[in-house]
Symmetry: C2
Subunit: 877 residues, 2 copies
């Protein structure tokens, strides 16, 4: 049986996104619910995959099916590709399963050639329109399909405009356009070495192949990498008969959302341009009019549009992003899709749709991208300060948020500076797909041109990045690296603040305050808490962290890294004395001074936690991390320690390690220096005893890091238990504690049945477990991990999202083996993966009891955990 | 039911070594075959374990059983412990399952007190003997059971001898001895704070407990660690009625082997002292007479002894080490055990016993300690040079071999210097158990006193260490750190050569030549090859290594580390140029110069291998290993490279890694610098093509190191395959090659099913697999691994013998998963564990196809593999 590679729109439906791409599936769906869609066909994503499988060749079978369906389209439309009288012109667009704005390339007006252009001119009685379409087609085809530099064409256009003193394109005469077509064809010949193809079938196949190729262009690959989209999905190709928004003043084109994509407000929100093609709106070259104005221009069309928007939203049960064209008064729907939105909008839309009875809570929970909601937690500008701040300029509030940073004018520079640790704002005249990486790394984006649906605005909202767009008061000189607002000059490296919620731009730094976690946010989080199976704890090393995390909904502390408490300036001296001690006695003396300080912190944290559990990890890093490396620091610190510089240097040399990651750290320190473990145990237990006396019900969990097996864990547990039990007995206190371990060495994961015999709990230290299981030093992997991602040798950075196959397998084995011995064994995660939604989903399927993440990731984790449970509802633990 | 903690000799047998210890089991066995053994009882090893389990308390049940059996012994012997007329005196000796010479403590004459000493004096009519025994008992009991310094007693003895001008102990009068007893008791009171116990029952229980305690003294622990003996076996205690070799000239004591323990020659070999106790022989204080002299002294006893020796060897079917005492003309057997022997003797005895029809080949193979046979491969002194060399002195040929090194006079110094890389000879007046560690690290041992069964001789033979003992011409001044031979002074750090086969000592260095692998050695190896299941390959990086390994029986090269070929002085310059190249072109240019050199080596190796396989590993170490670190080297090398010092420093800084072990190395280099993989592939394949043309049938296996999963392995395999196939096609050559990977990253082991889909073979790199699975940096673990071993947190150093539980589990999983996909998957090991017998046994049980080890370990591996197969005969693969 022959495989079906091509579908007519009426053959598909919205569930076939994987096969037809999002755009194709939605065009099919709209066709089937009788909305006015220009007819067309979709070449499947499977054809794209086939193309790559067959060494980048479109098979004869696929080619034949395309033309077979094209003939049917000709019958349906009564038009003929290349026809002398009523020629069929088509758009050719990509459409992947997951929408990638700006990533993919579109060709309009395909089918034009010397014959058909005359036919169109005659048929429309608009020669100017016909030749304008023709020159646009040649340019787009050359640029998009064959990679000829667009500037070559633009220069010709500019030259003619300049020569004739035209200001806008519409001033071009028919003769100008005919001349441009000839010029464009010359450019094509010169660049390609052969004539521009006049045969529409040849044009079509080149265009289809170009779209297949564009699946693997650098921009697309980068986007997929940034968004964790698989490279093996492929894209579909939509071939659709053309309709024209540029046929005069009763024509137009626009884009609209059924709700406000920035705030989520329930009201159609969009823009349109009269006498324009779709690309004109997206490119942001002309500033479009708000959709409400259409009511005045074409009231019937407006009413029809609003009705259709409503139908679509009800049909898809989600906010839609719609593209439409009006051809001589007749409305056509070109595309609908679930609209990209800011996190805030996403939240509001989800909650509103539940309140409107359109979706249920579970659906609402799956509608919000978990990782996006950190944005809502980022501080906002302090309203008090804003009152008195001078607004330097105001643009469109394209994507909400508050951003402060140094100004950079190219994506490369912004990206490099941000990765070097600077706070960065990317400032551009307008952005293009090449800027995506820079936008990703910047705190915020400011553009001088473009509307609410311009590239910058759409992408920034997708990224949850603060963006002020179309700020015309800002005159950008990208080459010269500065911008002007009136006479104020802001140069590269100067600091500005931008407010994506108001569109305001400020010179200098505006201070910020914490986000509000009530309202829709609170509602959604409460729903998440209702559904999720896993607990959410936080990694907190200080009372301040603990407070923040509880504010965001943490249910306890999953990891308190005691060494972070050592860096306080008062304490570090004693820590260093301890490290440089010659005898156990000297070491104990220094430790005795540290103890009360640690105890104080623990007490505060038990108090803040009010009966929620706290897992305290004993000292983990190698001791050399506490000693200075630079000559001048060594001299100074030797003085502070009252020892000779030589002695300090000797100790530093002594502690030097070839591979500190695999060295003398974790519980190995407790084996060689049991007095450190005793000091820390004392601090924890005495704090708990005091907290108990003061009525705070401390839930103490002491965690021993880096154990490789049962004997060493038991050895250190005995040290801790002996010390703790003695203190509890001496104080006649009613304090209990749990003793567990981190599973972060592969061996411990492999021998979890033994380890579980003695441990009260396991906490997976997935950072180190990843380092050891994959043999990747986190500090060094940067040298090759980029190439690994580029060559698809890794699906993603394993330090950002857990390597489920390898490291994850160890976690699964460990939980299973551990619980085979101790069914009630509590298992959690305290690596940074605890805040990554994909990892959280995986951990949920492993049956973990909780994840622990940094305070600002707590809401992400709450939502992601709920989503995981909803997705894997049928799994039992 | 009450547990049986005590056995009379007649209740046990030789199979109960685990329960009764080796000594106890053999005393029982000898009792049962009616040999003259002084009657006694054995407290089991389980009682020792019970002692440690019960917080170092001997339980009432055990105590009661001891005295119950003691009563039976009293009945049997007609003597009474503490009796006024016919008192029972006993020896109390330890006896573990595995004999540990010198490790355990013996107490003789227990039961003596003011009453019984008089009874003995009366009964033997030898007051001198009675009081001499008494003072010896007090001293031994105080020293051995209670740790009072022996020198305190010796000083008293010396003082009396000096005062009276005595030269030897036998000149002491009865009064002297009575006085000494009193003095000794005073010392006891002063040291212990209580009177010396007169109650024999109290004496006995203290002695039993002392033996239990001695199981965990430092010497015993060290010995067990050095010999991989479990710390949880425990020791038995033998309580045996005394017989006396020191009752005059018709009494004596001796030790003998049924064959020569140094050479294996078939002839009773031993020594005895007239009028002496056993300790006198072992301590080497008086030089004993050879056993043949007994024929003259006491012909009947000699004949009886020879007959018994024969009975014992036939009974045990192995060479016996026998202790005997003659009490007033009557022969008693005190102990028999399988005799410790040199590797050479072990080999000869095993082969001879087969030839004599006493054991079969399989038994013979299990009789030789696999790790000991490397000794036989160590070079011997060049006979030609020896002819003209001046023999400075001649001692006893106590343990064969040739050793050259710098002279050190304390075990500590010898041990420290040897660990720092020096070649060391330990020179002592006589050795004691405290010297074991120093003996272990020294190349050879030279002592001035003691016979063939002195401590030095016995221990050295056990260790397979060259030893010249009792070299009386050598006057040792340990404190002053020199020795004299006549007037020649040899100071600490001077070099000497000693020949343990002749007993000769030479000043300076005597050159050596390779060992002979024929004779008995060849016979046993041929038997091993008959039985073993696994192949034995070698790790060889040069034609010379390959030759040596084939000489020792390697069946191919399991690991050729190409980077070792890079360090040749001609090549390293090009390697550095390659590393410092700015462009791919420059890099390729340098690589092109290295290629022919590598090709030349590979060609030579294919030629030497004559059709045996060679696994070549692509470049593995991080590139910074090839660059200098020291300022002066940097300056010099920058000049050689014709680049600026700053540039070289920049490159070095660029390549610096925090954890190089987990960094940019292995196949990661091939991903980022595919041209290196191509150069190496070219060298290998062109060499194979040439070798093929020249008729050498090269078996090419290319190994890709450090893969973490299938995608990266596939990526690098494609680079290699593309290059190799092109060369083979271009040259129209009939060369085949296999492409496989090292499994050394835990992730690769976990995902072996996937990896096996594309790999032709797996080679376990157990060194790195150990580092990553256990989280131990080999370079840094020294800082804590000692404490881990001391606290029994590790059973052994996992870099010496594989961690079977953890790392081994990964190996097992990997083999199983890999073969589930590809049943014919060839699996080998190329870590250093490939030469360790315990690891080899484990690998055999994993079903590996081969192990690969360093050339000198090849015979060890052949034998160990045969032993593994014999032990696990029933396992099917």
């Amino acid at each position: 049986m022959v495989k079906k590679w091509v579908y007519a729109f009426e053959e598909g439906n919205a569930n076939q996104r994987a096969l037809l791409g999002g755009k194709g599936a939605n065009l099919a769906e709209m066709t089937n619910i009788n909305l006015p869609v220009p007819q067309g066909i979709t070449v499947t994503t499977e054809a794209c995959i086939d193309y790559y499988t067959c060494h980048e060749q479109i098979s004869d079978e696929i080619r034949e099916q395309i033309f077979e369906y094209l003939e049917k389209l000709e019958v349906k439309t009564g038009k003929t590709l290349g026809g002398e009288h009523n020629p069929l012109l088509v758009s050719v667009r990509s459409g992947a399963m997951i929408s990638m704005p700006g990533m993919m390339d579109t060709i309009l007006n395909l089918g034009l050639n010397p014959t058909t252009v005359e036919a169109i001119a005659k048929k429309t009685n608009n020669r100017r329109f016909a030749y304008d379409s023709y020159r646009r087609f040649i340019m787009m085809f050359s640029d998009v399909a064959l990679g000829i530099e667009r500037a070559l064409f633009d220069n010709e256009l500019e030259a003619i405009k300049e020569k004739n003193g035209y200001k806008v394109d519409t001033e071009l005469t028919v003769d100008d356009l005919v001349g441009l077509v000839a010029k464009y064809k010359e450019i094509f010949l010169q660049e390609m070495g052969y004539e521009f193809p006049d045969d529409p079938k040849v044009q079509l196949m080149i265009a289809v192949e170009a779209i297949f190729k564009s699946w693997n262009n650098q921009r697309a690959i980068t986007y997929r990498k940034l968004n964790n989209i698989s490279h093996t999905l492929g894209t579909a190709v939509n071939i659709q008969s053309m309709v024209y928004g540029n046929m005069g003043d009763t024509s137009g084109t626009g884009v609209a959302f059924t709700r406000n994509p920035a705030t989520g407000e329930k009201a159609v929100f969009g823009e349109y341009l009269i006498n324009a093609q779709g690309e004109d709106v997206v490119a942001g070259i002309r500033t479009p009019a708000p959709i409400e104005k259409l009511k005045e221009d074409m009231p019937e069309v407006y009413d029809q549009f609003i009705k259709i928007a409503d139908i679509l939203e009800n049909h898809y049960k989600d906010m839609q992003d719609i593209e439409f064209t009006i051809e001589e008064g007749k409305l056509y729907m070109l595309q609908t899709r679930n609209g990209k939105r800011t996190a805030a909008a996403s939240l509001k839309v989800a909650v509103d749709l539940v309140n409107e009875g359109k979706i249920d809570k579970k659906t609402a929970l799956t509608r919000v991208d978990a990782s996006s909601i950190t944005q809502l937690l980022s501080p906002q500008f302090d309203a008090e300060v804003l009152k008195n701040a001078t607004v330097a300029a105001t643009g469109l509030p394209a994507s909400p948020g508050a951003a402060v940073g140094k100004v950079y004018f190219t994506a490369e520079e912004a990206s490099a500076r941000a990765q070097a640790g600077e706070e960065v704002i990317l400032v551009r005249k307008e952005t293009s797909p090449e800027d995506i990486e820079g936008m990703h790394y910047a705190n915020g984006i400011l553009t001088a041109r473009g509307g609410m649906t311009s590239h910058a605005a759409v992408v920034a909202r997708g990224m949850g990045k603060c963006c002020v767009a179309g700020c015309e008061a800002v005159k950008v000189f990208e080459e010269e690296k500065y911008f002007l607002i009136g006479e104020t000059k802001v140069a590269e490296g100067d600091i500005i603040s931008i407010d994506g919620t108001t569109g305001n731009v400020y010179i200098g730094t505006i201070p910020t305050i914490p986000a509000n976690v009530g309202g829709d946010f609170g509602t959604l989080m409460a729903w998440a808490d209702e559904y999720r199976r896993m607990g959410i704890r936080t990694n907190a090393d200080s009372p301040a962290d603990a407070k923040t995390a509880l504010y965001f909904g943490a249910e306890g502390i999953g990891l308190c890294r005691t060494e972070h408490m050592f860096f306080d300036s008062e304490r570090i001296l004693q820590v260093r004395k301890m490290i440089c001690a010659d005898t156990v006695e000297q070491r104990v003396e220094a430790l005795d001074k540290i103890m009360p300080m640690q105890k104080g912190d623990f007490y505060e944290m038990f108090k803040i936690l009010e009966g929620r559990p706290m897992t305290v990890r004993l000292l983990d890093p190698p001791l050399h991390e506490f000693l200075p490396q630079e000559e001048k620091d060594i001299i100074q610190i030797a003085e502070e320690l009252e020892i000779s510089v030589d002695k300090l240097k000797l100790r530093i040399a002594d502690l030097h390690e070839v591979n500190p990651m695999l060295g003398h750290r974790g519980c190995r320190l407790s084996v060689t220096y049991p007095e450190i473990a005793r000091m820390q145990t004392t601090a924890i237990i005495l704090a708990a005893i005091d907290a108990k006396k003061d009525g705070f019900d401390p839930q103490v969990e002491i965690m021993i890091p880096l154990a490789g097996g049962k004997p060493e864990l038991e050895y250190v547990m005995n040290i801790v238990r002996e010390c703790a039990d003695k203190l509890i007995a001496e104080n006649e206190a009613d304090v209990e504690y749990k003793l567990g371990t981190m599973i972060e060495i592969p061996r411990a994961a492999l021998l979890s049945d033994e380890v579980a015999e003695i441990a009260d709990f396991f906490s997976f230290g997935t950072n180190d477990l990843t380092q050891m299981t994959m043999g990747f030093s986190r500090d060094d992997a940067g040298k090759f991990i980029g190439e690994y991602l580029d060559h698809n040798l890794l699906e993603h950075d394993p330090f950002q999202s857990i390597d489920q196959k390898g490291v994850g397998k160890l976690v699964q084995m460990s939980v299973k083996d551990g619980r085979s011995v101790k069914p009630e064994l509590k298992c959690g995660v305290c690596g940074e993966h605890g805040g990554d939604p994909a990892s959280i989903e995986f951990f949920d399927t492993c049956g973990l009891n909780y994840v622990s993440c940094s305070p600002y990731r707590v809401p992400v984790a709450r939502l992601a955990a709920a989503q995981a449970t909803i997705k894997h509802e049928d799994m039992l633990f």
